[in-house]
Symmetry: C2
Subunit: 254 residues, 2 copies
């Protein structure tokens, strides 16, 4: 397929590489800044532009992978002269309707992308949605060329999927960050001592649900240990409050 | 070494197997209940008892691996007739001093143990402490026979290590459980869709600190997405409060 890539950030870069690797033709890259437009165009060996009006007029699909806050106005600026084209965004938390096009869709690859860290796209679940059945079928088959796991999901449920990802990725990672801080400040242990525990916590999920896998003082409601931990956090009111709420919440659901 | 195992739960079972696998002689198992005493004794092919007074009088080390709340009274019941013996507990959150023996120590293998899930003990970091230098050296070398990572850590810093483990394991796992609940209630997606994201979140930690690895709406302070997520959680005040606190905390440290 002939694909135009609107955006040149982490997601656009990873997605562009995966699509090209699957044999698709990335015909052009647009980015707000000359520097990132050229950087990604060099990787993908295609042309690039920073001007909305210079974006090509026709392609099989225009994929917009920019930050959420820029999505709406950028999409509007691309409307003129591209009537009847299929535009797709990649944002987990944005509805289909944010795109001001007749033919519109969503291709949300659910992963945490960082610059300089290659990801294997084939294991990333992709969630698609489109305004029409033909475009939906097209997005499903496009997604299947880069990922082994493709679901059709509407905007309403995708909001909750994205929210769930915030808990599973960002908030879990913040738990790791708080753990790291405690280690650094008391005993100056390297965070690497936690990696086997984290590895096991994650790997358990392949054989049991996280609710079933829970261990520790909160699920046992070991008030003695919980109170001692809260005392240890007396100088850290933010972490203390999080400890208290998380423990109560674990206790309630188990 | 000749080792007596006091306890027959998850930790005692895993530890007993690892010690025996490393060539040590588990001479006896004590458990409160006949059933678990016999079950573990069958695995380790050793004798067992449920009576404190029937525990052998002498061994190189007595390892007490029971739940925290039972530790103190159980240890006291073992005192008579075993003067001069080395007793060691395995509890992350308990001080050395809880043991009423002259020769006392701690061997804390930091991992989350579940019945029916084998763990590779060699990758589990072990933290040791002892009342005397000779016993400390002995516990270090004993631990090194079962684990590649052994640290000496005093009771005060071990408290924080244990607290850090609660954040990195129990609280991170609870984030997974909350994510699972959201998926189930909205779109009925299987939790397996989250596994690649969780895998990547954990695997990033081998190349960068969790604080540096953070992504998502809270670290960007994307107020628009955060407010929408808080609205989605309107029917879940517990999760809503956790979302709010975690987001603020991520924003503050980044």
């Amino acid at each position: 397929m002939k694909i135009v890539l609107i955006g040149a950030g982490n997601l656009a870069t990873n997605l562009g590489k995966a699509l090209q690797g699957a044999g698709h033709d990335i015909v052009q890259v647009w980015s707000r800044t000359e520097e990132s437009a050229q950087a990604l165009a060099a990787v993908l060996k295609c042309s690039c532009t920073t001007e909305a009006e210079e974006v090509v007029r026709s392609a099989d699909v225009f994929v917009i992978a920019v930050k959420d806050s820029a999505l709406s106005s950028l999409a509007a600026s691309l409307k003129d002269g591209r009537e009847g084209q299929l535009f797709v965004h990649t944002a987990g938390s944005m509805p289909l309707e944010i795109l001001p096009f007749e033919r519109r869709g969503v291709l949300y690859p659910m992963q945490t992308f960082s610059k300089n860290k290659e990801v294997d796209f084939s294991v990333i679940p992709c969630f698609v949605e489109a305004s029409g059945k033909a475009d939906e079928a097209m997005l499903i088959s496009l997604s299947k060329t880069i990922s082994d796991t493709v679901y059709v999901l509407d905007s309403e449920n995708r909001k909750y999927l994205h929210l769930s990802a915030v808990f599973c990725c960002n908030f879990a990672n913040h738990c790791f960050a708080m753990g790291e801080r405690l280690l650094k400040e008391h005993g100056n242990l390297p965070f690497s001592v936690m990696l086997p525990l984290i590895e096991e916590t994650a790997s358990k999920l392949y054989s049991m649900s996280p609710q079933k896998a829970q261990t520790g003082p909160a699920v046992r409601w070991d008030k003695n240990v919980i109170d001692k931990h809260l005392q240890l956090l007396a100088d850290e009111p933010g972490m203390q409050k999080i400890y208290e709420l998380m423990s109560k919440s674990i206790h309630e659901v188990n």
